[in-house]
C-alpha cells in the first residue's frame, strides 16, 4: 500500500512509469532512512507524540530493518515505490499504532533529503580515504622511480627535461586540491533537512530540529524549509562537480600512462596481469583498464550535466523531476570510487623502464638550457633565443 493511498485506482502503467527503478535504487538508502527515523522517533517522544514504549519499539524495529538491509535482506517492492514506504509498512505491520504515528512531522520530501545527505556524507568520507590510498600509491612510485628523467612534452612534442617525480607529483598535487574542494562540499552537505517536511515546515507541532540533527551527527540544521527543497539538485550538482574534478585527474593520468606505455615510447611497463587480450589478434596486451578509466570521466560528466539541466527552469517547491537525480548521483559515486580503487592498483603495478626513458632524453630537450647559458654569459634572452633557434633550424635542414 502506498503512503498516499486513498482508495482510488491508479493506472498500472502510470505506477510502473513513475516508480521506474526507484525501488532498486532506494535499497542503498534504507540504512540511512532507518537512522533518520530513529532520531525522528526519539524527537517525537521528546515532544510527547510518542510514548516511551512506542519509541523503544520503533527504534528496535528500525534496527532490525537496518541490519536486514545491510545483509541485502530488506527488499522493496515496486508497489511500495521507495524505501520510505517499505519501512513505514514494515513498522505498521509489526507495531500497529506506533507505526502509523511515525510519519507525523515529516514528509517523504525531507525524508529523502535526509537519507541522501547521510548517504552523501558517508560517500564523501570514503572518497577522502581513497584519495589517501591513491596518494600513497603515487608516493610509492615516486620513491622508487622519481629520479628518472623523462622528456617533458608540450603540444605533443618534446619540450624540456622532466622527471617521473615531477610528472607523478603533479597528480598528488591535483588530489590535494580535490581535498580542499571536498572539505567545502562536505560542509554544505553536513546540515540536517529533517523537519522541513514538504518544504514549508510543519504546522501545529513544535519539532526539535536541533535534537534530530545532533542524533544523526549533522553539524547543524538547514533552517529555511524552502531552501531545503531548492538545495535538492544544488547540493548534488556540487558533489558531481567534485567527482568530475577527481575523475579529470584520473582521465589525464590514464591518458599519460596509455601514451607512455605505447611501444613507440616505452617509458612505462604495464604488467600483463593488468592487461586484457583480443579475440582475433593473439599478440595483443591491451590496456583496457586505462581506457575505461579515461572513458569513465565522461560518464561522470554526463551524470553531472543531467543534474545541471534537470533542475533548471523549474519553479520552486518539490517537483518529481528531482527524483531522477538519484541514479546519476549513485552512478557517479560508484564510478569514481571504482576508478580510484583501480588506479591505486594500477599505479602500484606499473614499472618504469629507465633505459628507454634515458635514451629518449635527446638533444632538443636542452635547447632552452643552451639559451640560458648564453644569457648567463651576457647575451639578452631574446637574442640568445634567436641564435639557438637558427642553429636548430640549420641542423634539421641538413
Amino acid at each position: 500500500m502506498r503512503l498516499w493511498d486513498k482508495g482510488t485506482e491508479v493506472d498500472d502503467l502510470i505506477l510502473d512509469f513513475t516508480v521506474g527503478d526507484d525501488h532498486i535504487l532506494d535499497l542503498r538508502l534504507v540504512k540511512y532512512d532507518c537512522l533518520a527515523s530513529m532520531a525522528h522517533a526519539r524527537m517525537l517522544h521528546k515532544i510527547k507524540v510518542l510514548t516511551q514504549e512506542e519509541t523503544e519499539q520503533l527504534v528496535e524495529s528500525l534496527t532490525i530493518i537496518k541490519e536486514l538491509a545491510e545483509k541485502g535482506e530488506f527488499p522493496i517492492t515496486k508497489e511500495q515505490e521507495d524505501c520510505h514506504t517499505a519501512i513505514e509498512a514494515f513498522l505498521t505491520d509489526k507495531l500497529g499504532e506506533a507505526g502509523k504515528k511515525i510519519h507525523l512531522g515529516r514528509s517523504r520530501n525531507d525524508q529523502v533529503l535526509t537519507a541522501l545527505r547521510l548517504y552523501e556524507k558517508e560517500q564523501l568520507d570514503n572518497l577522502r580515504a581513497s584519495f589517501g590510498e591513491l596518494r600513497q600509491a603515487l608516493a610509492g612510485r615516486i620513491d622508487r622511480y622519481g629520479h628518472i628523467p623523462i622528456p617533458g612534452y608540450t603540444h605533443m612534442r618534446k619540450a624540456m627535461p622532466s622527471s617521473i617525480g615531477m610528472w607523478l607529483g603533479s597528480f598528488t598535487a591535483a588530489l590535494n586540491d580535490d581535498s580542499t574542494l571536498l572539505k567545502a562540499v562536505f560542509k554544505l552537505v553536513d546540515r540536517s533537512p529533517l523537519g522541513t517536511a514538504a518544504g514549508f515546515g510543519v504546522p501545529v507541532f513544535e519539532l526539535d530540529r536541533e535534537m534530530t540533527a545532533e542524533l544523526m551527527g549533522f553539524a547543524s540544521v538547514l533552517a529555511n524549509p524552502h531552501y531545503a527543497q531548492l538545495s535538492r539538485g544544488k547540493i548534488e550538482m556540487t558533489i558531481l562537480s567534485l567527482l568530475s574534478a577527481v575523475m579529470f585527474d584520473l582521465n589525464r593520468l590514464a591518458s599519460d600512462l596509455l601514451l607512455f606505455s605505447m611501444d613507440e615510447f616505452g617509458y612505462i611497463d604495464l604488467p600483463e596481469r593488468l592487461c586484457t587480450g583480443s579475440s582475433i589478434m593473439p599478440q595483443k596486451k591491451n590496456p583496457d583498464v586505462l581506457e575505461l578509466v579515461r572513458g569513465k570521466y565522461h560518464i561522470v560528466c554526463g551524470e553531472e550535466s543531467k543534474v545541471r539541466s534537470l533542475v533548471s527552469n523549474l519553479t520552486s517547491g518539490y517537483q518529481r523531476d528531482l527524483q531522477l537525480m538519484k541514479g546519476p548521483l549513485f552512478r557517479a559515486f560508484d564510478t569514481t570510487a571504482g576508478c580510484l580503487e583501480i588506479m591505486t592498483l594500477v599505479l602500484s603495478g606499473i614499472e618504469v623502464d629507465e633505459d628507454r626513458c634515458r635514451s629518449a632524453m635527446t638533444d632538443e630537450l636542452f635547447a632552452t638550457e643552451k639559451v640560458y647559458q648564453l644569457v648567463k654569459e651576457g647575451m639578452p634572452f631574446r637574442d640568445a633565443y634567436r641564435q639557438v633557434a637558427k642553429m636548430a633550424k640549420m641542423r634539421s635542414d641538413r
Copy 2:
C-alpha cells in the same frame, strides 16, 4: 574462458573492472549476435571454411541460443565478459571443432558493431511505430477538442487567440519532423560492418560481405573497415541526437500540460487515475508522470553528451572507451520508448475544460485584431499599433 585467454593470470579486480556490467547489458544483444553468426557461418560455408554439416549444426545451435535468450534463459557470466564469448563458448562446448571455427574472418569488434546495428534498426522501427501511436492519440484529442479556443501565450503572458487544435497540432508537426530525421538516421545505420574485423579487414581469406549483409537484411555493406570503427560513436551520436529531438517534443508537451492543468488555469483535466499522491498532504493529486517525462529529456540529453565527449580526442582504431557507449544507448532508447508510450496513454486520458478555456479568452488577446481592423479602415499599421497601445495603457492605469 575468455576468447583471448592465453594462459596468463589477470588480476581479478582488473577483470571485474573491465567487464563492468557488460555481461548484463549484453543480454539484449544475444539475439542479434545469433542472427549475425548464422549469416557468418553460411558465408564461411560458401567460401569453403565450414562444411555443410558444420554450418547446419552451427545454425541450429544459434537458433537454440536465440530462443533461450528470448525467454531470458541464456545467462552471460562475468567471466565470459560479453555475449560474443558466451555464444562461442556454448557452440564450442556443444559442437567442438565447428565452434572453434566460427570466429574466423571476424573480430569481436565487428561482431559488436553488427549486433548493435541490428539492434538499432529494430529500435528505430519501434520508434517509428510509437510516433504513429502518439500521433493518433493527438489526432483523437484534436478531433474532440480542437475547436475550443485557448489563450496563446508569449513570454508567459497572454498574447493572441489560439486553440486546442493549433496547440496540439504543433506536436503532430514536430513528430513529422522527427520522422524525417529518423529516415536519415536509419539509412546511416542500415549498412553491414560484418567482415571489417578489428577495423582493418581480413587477410588470407576472401570474405563475401555482400552475402552476409543480405542475409542479415542490411541495405548495403559498410565498405571501409577503418570507417566501421570510426563510425562507432558517430552513429550512436546521431541516434542519440534523434532521441533527444523526440524527447524535446515530449518535454515541451509535458510542460504545457503541467501548466494548463494547474488550478490557476484549469484548461486541462488530468484524470485522477493518471495522478499520484503525497505522503503528508491528503488533498494532493500530483502529475508525477508529466514531471518525469519532462525530466527524462535531460536524462537522454545527458546520455547523448556522454557519447559526444567519450569518443573525442581519441586516435583511430578501436579503444575500450567505446564500450562505455552501450549503456547510454540502451538507456536512451528505453527512456524514449517508455516516454512515448506513457504520453500516448496520458494524451488519450486528458480532458479539456471548455468553460475554463472560454472564460480565459479575455479582451487583451484581441488587441492585435483591433489594430488590424484599424488598418483595414485605412490607418498605417504602426500608427494603428500605437493608438491601440495607448488605449490599453489608459485602461490598465485606471
Copy 3:
C-alpha cells in the same frame, strides 16, 4: 525608437541587458530580413494592403539596405535592438507611410524565424561545398600516398596492417555520412515560417503564404503557426547536431595527425609553414592548428548543449530565452566552416614519410595473418589463435 515603443520609460540597465549583443549578432541577418521583407511587401500588394507604388518604393529601399549591409555600412544601434527594427526605422524614415505599413501581417517572431532559416539554408549550402573541398584534399593525399602501409592500432597498440589509403578513406566515408544528414536537416529548414506572426497566425487579413515562400525560394510553407515557434530550438538543435557530427570527424582526424606526426612515430610530416613556435624553446615546431581543430569540436558541442537545455522545460509560445540561441548557432557555423577550411589546407600540405611507415611494420602486426595461414592449412581458428599466442608470449618473455 523601438518597434514596441508606447511612450513609457524603461530602465536603461534593463534595455542594455535585454538587447545584449543582439544588435551586433543581427548584422549578419540584415540581408536575409531584406529578402523576406521584399517578398512580404509584394504579397501585401497582392492582397491590396500596399499600392503598386508603395511596394516598388519598399523593394527599392530594401535593396539599398541589403547592399549597404553587404558592404558593412548598415549599422544597428543598441537603441534599435535588432535588425528588424533598424530596417523598419530606415524604411519609415525614408518612405513615411509605406514604411509604417510593412509590418502588417507579421511579427518580429516570424521575421526572426524567416531570416534565420534563410541564413541557415545558405550556411548549409556552404557546408556542403566545404565537404567537397575536404574530400578532394583527402583524395589528393590518397592518390599520392594511399598505397603506403602503416600499422593499424587498437587500444593504442599495434594491431594489424593498415594503409594510408584505408585510414584517410575512412574520413571520406565519414563526410559522406555527414552529407546524408545534411540533406535531411536541409529539408527541415527549407520551409517558410513567414506569416505565422507571433505563433498564432494573423487575424482579419488573408495572407498568401505560398507566394512569399516561393519568392524567398523555400520548398514549402511551415503550416502550423504554433509549430513555427516550437521549431525554434528544435531546428537549431538539429543543425548543431550535424555540425557536431562534422567536427567529430575533424577532431579524430586531427588527433591522428597529431599522434602520427610525433617524432616517436614520424609517419606524417607537417611542413613548418603550418606550424607555430614557442616563446621559450627555440627548437619547437608546434602543431597548434591541429590542436585547435581538435579543441573546437568541444566548442561546437558546448554550443549544442546550450541550445538543448535552453529550450527545455519551457511552456509553449515564444519566450525570450530563445533569443540566446543566435550566438551559439552563429559561433557553431563559423567554427565548423573555419575548421573545414583549415583542415583542407593542412591535408593538402602534409607529407607521408614512407621510410618511417615501412619500418614501423613490425612482426606483431602479422600475427593474425599467421593464425589464418594455420587455418588455411586445416587447424580450427581458436586452436590456431592459441598456438600463435603461445609463440608470441615465448618471444616476448625471452
Copy 4:
C-alpha cells in the same frame, strides 16, 4: 614580430586560424600581465639578471602600458597574437636591451597562467561583492513583504501555506552556500604559477618564486611546475562550476518570478519600467529580463561543459586546445556578473500584491494542518491522513 619568430614563413591562413580572437580576448589580461611582469623584473634584479636601472625602466614602462590598457588605448594586433607578445614588443621597442631580457625565466605558459589567476582573483572578489548586494535587495523585499502568505507549491500544485519571507529567504540561503564554495575556489586560485615556465621549471637560473608570489599578492606558490599546467582547466572547471551554481539560484528565482507575475497568479507585480513590448501586440508588457536571466544559466552551463570536455583525454603538458578556455571563462564571468546586477535591480523593483496573495490561500492548503489537529486530538497520523483525504475527495467529487 611573434615571440617565436625564427625567420621562416608561416601560412597566413594558419596564423589567422591559430590566433583566432585571442588578441581581442587578451585585452582584459594586459593589466594583469603588467603586474606580473613588474614582479618578475624585480625578481630578475634580485637574482642579478637585470640591473637596477633596467628594472626601473621596465617597471616604469609596464606602468605606462597598464594605464594605457585601462583607458582602452593599448591595442593588440593580430600579428602579435596575444598580450604577452604585445607587451614584450612595446618594452623592446622602447627600452632595447632591457626589453629583450625580461622573458628570461618564464614562458608564455606561466605568463598566461599567472595573468589568468590574477584576473580570476579579482573577478571572484567582485562576485563576492555582488552576492552582498543581491542579499541586500532580498533583505529589503523580505523586510517589506516577508509576512505576506503565499501558497507553497509542490508538483506545481498548491501544497501548504508558505510566505514571501520563507520563499525569498531560500535564495538568501542559496547565496550563502555559494559564498562557502567561493571561498574554497578562491583558495585554489590564490597560488602563483610564475616561474613554472613551460611546465617543467627553469634550468641554469635560481628563481625566487616566493618573492614574485608575494609581490603579486598570492597567498603561496604553486610548487609543482607540471601541476601548474595540469591545473589549467582544472581550476577553470572549478570556477565555472561555482558560476553555474550561482546562475542556478538566479534561474530558479527568475522562474518563480515569471510564474508568480503571470496574470493567472498575480502575486508579484513587475513594474512597467522593467518590462519590454511586442512589435505586433500593443498590449504586451513582457518580462524579457527574467527570461534572459533564466536562459543565461544554460549559457554558463554550456561554457562549463566546453571546458570539461576540452581538457579531457589529453596527455600532459600544455596543448593549444587549452587556449580555447579563455572565451568560455570570460563569457561565464561576464554573464554571471551581469545577471547578478540585473537581478539586484529587478528585486529592488518588484512589488507584492497582498490581496491576490491572500485570496490565493484557499482551503486545500490547510489539509495537512487538519490532519495534525486530528493527531493532536489523539488519532495516529496515517489514520488522520486517510480521513482528511476521504473528505477532500468527497468534496471534489461533488
